[in-house]
Every structure is written in C-alpha cells, then in structure tokens.
Symmetry: C2
Subunit: 403 residues, 2 copies
C-alpha cells in the first residue's frame, strides 16, 4: 500500500548527514557530532537518591495521572531558580509549563503560533531541530543578518516591517551551533523592536548555565523584558541528565495556557515520577556545585580543542573561542565543502556535523560544528589531529578543492 502522508511531512525526511552520523554512533570513530553532555559526569548518586526519596513516600498517587502544567513544587523551584540565577522576575508558577524536554517547548510554541502564512525570524546559523519544527508547521523561516554579537537591528527591523513575523527564535547565550553570545546592546534592541512590531521572542537557553568566564554576565532576554514579549525555555538535560526529558517554558500566561492545552493533546503531561525526582534533586542535592564541576571539566576540554586547532595552524581555518556551552564553530576555506568531506573524515576516524543544515538562509558550506563536552581530552586531541589530517590533505592538493 502507498500511504498518503500529510503535506507537512515533506520536512521530516531523514538526511544523508543523519544517516552517516547514525553509523558513527555504532563504530569506533571519535565523534564531535552529537550535542551530548558527558555521561561519566552525570550525578548518578544524586539522581538515584532523588528517586529513592519519591519512592520513600510509598504513595501510589505519586504515580497517577498528573496535571498537564507540571508538578507544582517543581514549577515553584524552577521559578525560584530562574529568579536567583537568571534575574527572570516576571513569572509565577502559573506561568511555567513543564515540557518533555525543551524540544517540546519549541514544538508546542510552533503548534499554537505557526501556519503556512506565517513567518519566523532566526539567527543564521541556528539550532537545526528548531528549523525542522518551524518547517513541519509549514511556516516560512527567514534568517536575519548577524555577527558574533547577535542580530543586526537594522536588518531585524526591516524584516519585521516587511514580513510581520509571528516570532523571532534566538539562542542568545552560547548558541547552537555557533557558540555566540549576544551583547547586551543587541539584546535590548531586539526587545525594543519586538515591542514596536508586536512580535513574540522565543528565547532558547539550554546552555546558559555552562558559563566559562566568571566575570561576565549575560542577561536573558526574559529578564530584560516586561513579561509580555518573551517566551523562555530551558532544560535539565545539560545540567542534570537528558534521559528524564524534562524541560520548561515560561512566559506570558495567555501563551503558556494555550501551550498547556496543546500539550494535553500531545502527551497529556510530562513523566511525573521524573518531575518529582528532579524536584528532590533541586532541593536535596548540590546542583550548583555539580554545575561548577561540569563547567570546570567542559572548559578545560574546550581549551584542549582550541589548542589543538591553533597548533595545527591550517590556513583559512577560523573560529571564535567559546565562552560557554558545548560547541565550537569552525569556518574553513571557502573552497571546502564539509558535507562532502564528512565521509572522508569518518573513514579517517573522526566525525562532526557539517554546517549546512543549520542555515535558514544561504548556507556557508565551509563550516562545521564540533562538540567538546562528550569526548575525553585524550580523544579530543586524537580526534582533532585526525580531522586536521583530512583537512590538510585538501589544502595541499589544490586540485581536490570543492570535494
């Protein structure tokens, strides 16, 4: 039988890159491709204790169907944490929705906001799974011109004026894939324009707590706004563990309520045993101490990767040293296509994600995303050397350019 799928599945096709990377996961290749935290650093004892505390109550009601909005003590803990750590003061626990990972927050927001006639503005490059979601609701995605400090206000304003977008999607702190941090000035400009043109900002902040420089401060858009124009999402996946699929989104009540109703149709509610365990983790475990340890390890791995790349001294290779997060974004000679190179790199024992799928607009095909949080320093060194080997060969044999 030939199945007649809906039009929107056009954007759900598996990509060649994903297929290659799936193979990588099974072999002995050193992979900088996944956006994975290091599982050796997971707070296993803390998580186990947290579940034990929930089971210790012995109450069946802990495992019953639960509120779509999320476990209330966890929502209150999230509000408290976002107050203290992020300066986000505009929301109460009724304006937080617990989601099945922050991916679901992006999806639910799109579901209630976007249709074929709507526009979304994004950075370029940006999180590729967000692009897939926007496209899956048949929205039109437009990239705004930007540099390492964020979107250019003049291009942003021009596009807001011309396209009347429903939303602007941004990862302003340690962006995926480019590792960018927006300047305060650009953050304020975005909020001002969002107010002027009545556009909702969707701020995706999964990496914000993984900050490497103590003396800097990156204020979330949600803390700069007056509580009307910014939706903010983050997750326990990077600071605790991904397996529990627990994130949250906070923002204006009307939007959160509509997203809750969409969530009810989507999956009723997020795993409530895990929500209760995460509440126990937040209140009975030194989560901030754990995050400090993560930062220390991830920062030193980032330094190893940066050193290796600098030592290699490849002509036309450039990157901005990450100030946090999980990714290093590399730009190569314009004559190199990283999508085509990927096969050769994998044969040489190393993998990355080519930059192309991260672009909403015209892709820079000479870019790649390298993750520095999952591999050990030894494997980072070995992997970067394997990668440099492949790249050097291309640079030496100029007849092979464009491959």
């Amino acid at each position: 039988m030939k199945y007649a799928f809906a039009k929107r599945v056009r954007h759900l096709q598996s990509s060649a890159v994903r297929d290659i990377l799936k193979v990588v996961g099974q072999g002995d290749v050193i992979s900088f491709a996944g956006g994975l935290p290091d599982d050796e650093l997971f707070p296993m004892k803390g998580i186990e204790d947290a579940f034990a505390r929930v089971f210790a109550t012995g109450k069946g009601s802990a495992l019953q169907y639960a509120e779509t909005e999320g476990y209330r003590p966890l929502r209150e803990e999230i509000i408290k944490r976002m107050n203290e750590k992020k300066g986000i003061m505009n929301y109460s626990s009724d304006e937080v929705l617990v989601t099945t990972g922050s991916q679901q927050a992006i999806d639910l927001f799109s579901r209630i906001m976007l249709g074929p006639e709507d526009y979304v503005l994004t950075e370029d490059p940006t999180y590729l799974a967000a692009l897939q979601v926007f496209h899956s609701y048949e929205a039109n995605v437009l990239a705004v011109d930007s540099d390492d400090d964020g979107m250019f206000p003049d291009d942003l304003e021009q596009k807001m004026k011309q396209y009347k977008p429903k939303a602007v999607y941004v990862v302003p702190t340690f962006s995926n894939p480019a590792g960018r941090v927006w300047s305060l000035e650009r953050r304020k400009a975005l909020i001002q324009l969002a107010h002027k043109y009545n556009v909702v900002i969707f701020e995706d902040d999964p990496y914000g707590e993984l900050q490497f420089l103590d003396n800097e401060q990156y204020t979330p858009l949600a803390a700069l706004d007056d509580g009307t124009h910014v939706l903010y999402t983050s997750t326990f996946s990077k600071i605790a563990v991904p397996a529990l699929r627990t994130g949250w989104v906070m923002g204006p009540y009307q939007i959160i309520r509509m997203m809750s109703q969409a969530k009810q149709a989507n999956d009723l509610h997020t795993n409530s045993l895990s929500q209760q365990a995460l509440y126990q983790l937040c209140t009975n475990f030194n989560l901030d101490g754990h995050i400090e340890q993560l930062i220390s390890v991830y920062r030193s791995r980032m330094e190893v990767m940066v050193d290796c790349l600098q030592k290699a001294d490849l002509p036309e290779l450039s990157f901005v040293k990450p100030r946090g997060g999980m990714f290093l974004w590399v730009e190569l000679s314009e004559r190199l296509n990283t999508t085509i190179l990927l096969n050769e790199a994998v044969r040489n024992g190393v993998a990355y994600v080519p930059g192309e799928p991260f672009y909403a607009g015209l892709a820079k095909k000479n870019t790649m995303r390298l993750n520095f949080t999952h591999a050990t320093p030894e494997r980072i060194e070995k992997g970067i050397n394997l990668l440099v080997e492949v790249l050097s060969k291309k640079v030496e044999h100029q007849e092979h350019f464009f491959v």
Copy 2:
C-alpha cells in the same frame, strides 16, 4: 499585547465541563469522571525494584540521550508480549515506536497524516482527546453509524466511497466512553473495507488487557490484518502506572518511520530511564499476575456500580454491562441534558463526564460516562446513590425537564 495564535488553536479551548471537573478534583466530591486507574493498586514495589535494577548498573550511559525509536530491549519485549497475548505477529522491533503515552501515538499519527483537506472516520461516541487531536490538525471528522457490535459496514463503505478518508480511528475493545466490544464479524468487515478503499485503520487499545470474561476472545484488528493497513497503539498506563508516560505504536514500517521523524521534532525521545525500568518490570516482575489482580478488583467494582444502578430502577435509564475496561456508559431519558445536570450533581457530591463532548456527530445529550476503577466499592455505592437522587428529582418534577 494581543497574541496572534495559529488557526489550529480554535480547537484547543478549555471547555466548561473541564473547568467544573477541575474543581471536583480539589474537593470531596465522589468522582466517576476521570479515566483513572486505582493508585492504591499500583505495583509500587515492582516499580521501585525496576528502577533499582537500572541504577544498579551504575552506568551514566543509561541516562544519556537515546534513540528516538525507543529502548530496544523494551521494544523487543513489547513485540513478544503482543505476539503472545494478542496474536499480533506481523511486526518486528523495527516496527514499534515507543511513545510518551499512547496519547502521543494518536498525535504523531495525526501529524503525519492529517490536514485541512483530510477526513477521519470514527465511532460515535469516541475518545474525546482523539477528537481534539484530529481537529487540532484541522482534519474533518465524520462519525460512522454503529451499534454495540461496532460500525455498520454499509455506512462505513458509503462514507469511505464518498469522502475517501485517510484513516478510521477505532477503540474496538472496551471502548472509551461506551465500553463497547466489536464483534469479530464487524472487525473483519472493517479490515476488508480498509483494503478495498486504501484507508489506514488506527486501532487504539489502552484497555484490552482489562478483560472481565475469561471465556471470550477479542482479536485485535492488528492480528486480523496482513500488516499493511493497521496501526496499533497501547500503553503501560492502565496495566502498570500512568506517571511514566510510556506507550507504544506498531504498524507498517513506512508509517512508523515517519512517525519517528515527527517524534524527533516533537520531543526527541521518550524518557529512557522509565523505558529501561519498564523493561525490568516486564522481565523481573509478575506483570500478568498483577493484571489478574487488577481485573478481579475492577470487575467487582463494576458489579457494584451495576447493582446500584439496577436497584435504583430509574425509568428510562439504560446501559450495557461492561465486559472490561474502565467505563460504564449510561443513557437517560431523552428529556435530560447531562451537561446541564453536572453542576447540580457536583453540588450533590458526585461527578461524571457528560456524553456530549465524546460525539463527533450529533450528540446524545442524555448520556454520561461513569468510571468504576478509581473509587472504592463503598464510595461507588454512595456516589451512585447521590447521582440517583439528582436524577430521580428530575424525573419526578417533570416541569424541570431539559435542565
């Protein structure tokens, strides 16, 4: 700011009934409204042991990001179980997708299949949250004429011919809300027509294992089909616990693969710690023995409810005695409107779900759904008496009809 939501949210509005029932959850009203299993019967020790077994491995990788398709040992266990218990033999573990509850299976299926130009056929009445999902993708839902044995093949054929539906959604065994069981003949007729008109059948079977009569056999559509036209979904929510939000869907590979891709955009994957724990529960705990205990308790509660209703001997009250599942569907005098009556019932200390929102077509407003699995026998007796009080008053004072 006025937020410009997408057109599809029209169907996500909260209902008056839901608002009343939300209040019920907080008070001392005896509620037959929720579709809740009894949390006193949850296998707490089994679940706790299952999690302990996963933690005992001590491996961080157990809590890392995981495959969208689901934890492979669990998928294999599901296949084995569906082979043995249900006679569903057509699928391998590559044709199972683990979902965040079976609600997500309905949602993902709709997402890849349905748009504004598409038709879905359903029973009438049917699962109201499925109707909400179909509407949220702007599909057109049509009810097929049916009786207690299932859809009438002639009306089904006529509607397949005329509307060329993408799918037929059915709960053929212990349906929600009506507690119906389709006859084998009607099941076969549906499959034959699905083949003839190239329509996919979505079989929702959350209650199938809660069977009260030992000597009957209800073969799932997925076991009667050749593996091309039936998607089958079920869940651990009714046989284990709902909090873990773990269900599954199995069917033709092309559809399952497309649903996996939609799931990746939706929530990446289902909580994998819970998946591993459920695998441990399936393999190290007497799940079938537990289900037998559930059946025994739920059957006796159903008997109590049936007895109380029969004793009340209200004129024009009728129902079919449930052969399994969680619900008893009551039809009253046509002059009574259960939506309007709900407020008065709640004031008298008892709640139910009015039949109206379960209808895709013209609603019978004199119907209600009563859940018999959550309340104790004592509270069932008390609650039914309170309900009968309200109904009797209406029947006595004929001037109050239609209220």
